[in-house]
Symmetry: C2
Subunit: 250 residues, 2 copies
DNA sequence: CGTGTTATTGAAGTGTATCAAATTGCGTGG
DNA sequence: CCACGCAATTTGATACACTTCAATAACACG
C-alpha cells in the first residue's frame, strides 16, 4: 500500500524562488558572514577566504510550507544550510508508514551524509515553516571540510548529538507506552518548534504511533486538565504534569 | 526495579591489564603506525608527527569477555580505539530494560561523544570478544582533530553511518513485527560478529523484544527449517529464507 | 459552497508482553 | 573430576495496549 500524496500538500515540482546563482556579486545581506544564523551553524569563525569561496559557490533559495527540498532517492546537489524556517526529515517505510526522524531549523544542515558519500538522499525533507536556505555544492563543501578542521569538528558534534537523540528515541519506542511517547512528543515538538501547527498525524509520525491513538490520548489529556483543545489547536496547560506522564526525569 | 548484575558476568572492578603507560618507549608492535587495524580506523594516513603524539599519549590495554570498559555516568577518560576484539554498547532504560545500541570491533572507536563534549558516558561498553584497545586521552585527541582534518572527516563519516543505522532500526522498531526483527538480528549479528556466541537475551536486547519471544521465534524458525538449534548454539540453514522473513529487500 | 483533508468516535482483533514454573546447560569450587 | 548452584533456556497461560477497519463530522481552501 503506497502512500498517496494529497493534492493539497503537493506543491512539489514548482521550483522554489532562486535568489542568485553562483559566481555573481552577491547582495550584502546574502553574504554568509552576515547570515543571521551564522553563529548557530558550522560556519562561524571561518577565515575570510573560507567565506569568500562559500559566497561564490552557494545558491540562496526561498521555500514555503509544504515544499519538498529533496526526496529519498534523489541525487544529492549538496548540503542545505538553513538560514531561517524549519524543515522535517521523514522516512517512509515499505508499508507507507512515515516517521519524522528530525526537525531542523536555523543554523542546521540538511543532506550531509548523502553529500559526503555521494549516495542518494535516504529520506524526504519537507518544509514546515517558510524557509530560506543556501545550497552549498558538494565540491565546495568538501574543500571547506578539508581546509577548516573547525567545520568538520562542528559537523561531527552536531551529528553525534543527533545520534544520541536517535538512540534515546529508539529506546523509548519500546520502553515507553504510546501515551508516554505522545506526552513527550507534545512537549518536544511544541517547545522547540512552536511556530508550526502540528497535526495529529505529525505527532503520530514523531511518536511512532497512529493518528487515532494520538487523538484518543489528546482527549484523555484534556480530561485530565493537562492540555486544552481548541479545534485543531493544542494548548499546554500543565507542563509539569505532562513531564511526569512522559516519564522524563527532572 | 533495578537490574541485578549477575555474579558470573561481573568481572568489573578488576582493572584490566595495562600494557604500558604514557611517555615511555613503546614496543615496536604497539606503535599506532603498525597497528593491525589501523587501515580500518580514523588514523590511517596520519602524518609522522601525528603518530608520534598518538604513541606517546596512548595506553594499551587488554580486556576479556564480560569486562566493562566504561559505564553510563562515568567521567570520560578519552576515546578507546579497538585494535582487536569486539565490544557492545548498551543503554539501560529506567525500568531496567537493556538495549544493545551498537557492536563495535577492530578499527572502531568508543566514547567519542563523551570525550568531545566532556560529559559522562551515556551507555555501558561491555566486551564481547577478548579485546585489545588503546586509550587516547581527551586533549591528545582534541589536538589530533584540530590539526588533521582527515581524522575529523573520517569520524564524521563513521558517525553519520551509525546515525543512519540507528534511524533504520528506529523505523523497524515500529514497522516490523517481532518475528521480522528477530530474523534481522539473527542475520546481522551472526554475520558481522560471528565469533561471539549470542544469547537469547542479547538477541532480544538488539531486536527490541523479550527473551521469551526470541525463544519462541527461534523454535518456529527451526520448525520451518530456517535454522538449526543445537543446545544454545544456533546454526543458520537458510539465509535466503531468513532474509525474506526479515523483509530485507535484495 | 463544494471538495478533499483532517479529526473524531466506535467496535473488533491480535501480536506480544507479562508472569510463573520447570528444565537444561555450564562454570566453579570442593 | 564431579557435584553443586546459578544463570540461561523453555513452555504454558493470561492479559491488554494498541492497531486496524469503518463510518461520520468538522474544517479549510480554492
Amino acid at each position: 500500500m503506497t502512500k498517496i500524496q494529497s493534492k493539497r500538500t503537493q506543491n512539489v515540482e514548482k521550483a522554489p524562488e532562486v535568489d542568485l546563482a553562483g559566481g555573481g556579486n552577491p547582495s550584502e545581506e546574502s553574504l554568509c558572514q552576515n547570515c543571521e544564523s551564522k553563529h548557530l551553524g558550522l560556519f562561524c569563525g571561518l577565515s575570510p577566504e573560507g567565506y569568500q569561496s562559500l559566497n561564490s559557490m552557494k545558491r540562496n533559495q526561498h521555500y514555503k510550507t509544504g515544499d519538498v527540498v529533496f526526496r529519498a532517492g534523489d541525487h544529492p546537489q549538496g548540503i542545505y544550510c538553513i538560514k531561517s524556517g524549519s524543515v522535517k526529515i521523514e522516512a517512509i517505510g515499505q508499508d507507507g508508514q512515515a516517521h519524522i526522524l528530525h526537525v531542523v531549523n536555523s543554523g542546521g544542515i540538511l543532506g550531509l551524509k548523502a553529500s559526503l558519500d555521494e549516495v542518494p538522499y535516504e529520506a524526504n525533507a519537507i518544509v514546515l515553516q517558510p524557509a530560506e536556505m543556501c545550497i552549498i555544492h558538494r565540491p565546495t563543501f568538501q574543500t571547506l571540510l578539508e581546509t577548516n578542521p573547525s567545520v568538520a569538528i562542528k559537523a561531527l558534534r552536531a551529528s553525534m548529538l543527533e545520534l544520541h537523540e536517535m538512540e534515546k528515541r529508539f529506546c523509548h519506542a519500546t520502553d515507553l507506552t504510546a501515551v508516554e511517547r505522545i506526552a513527550e512528543a507534545l512537549l518536544h515538538l511544541k517547545d522547540r518548534f512552536e511556530s508550526h501547527r502540528w497535526s495529529r498525524r505529525e505527532f503520530a509520525e514523531w511518536a511512532s504511533t497512529t493518528t487515532e491513538t494520538v487523538i484518543r490520548t489528546l482527549s484523555q489529556f484534556e480530561k485530565e486538565g493537562l492540555i486544552q483543545l481548541d479545534g485543531r489547536k493544542i494548548i499546554i496547560k500543565d507542563r509539569k504534569g505532562l513531564l511526569e506522564k512522559a516519564k522524563i526525569m527532572f
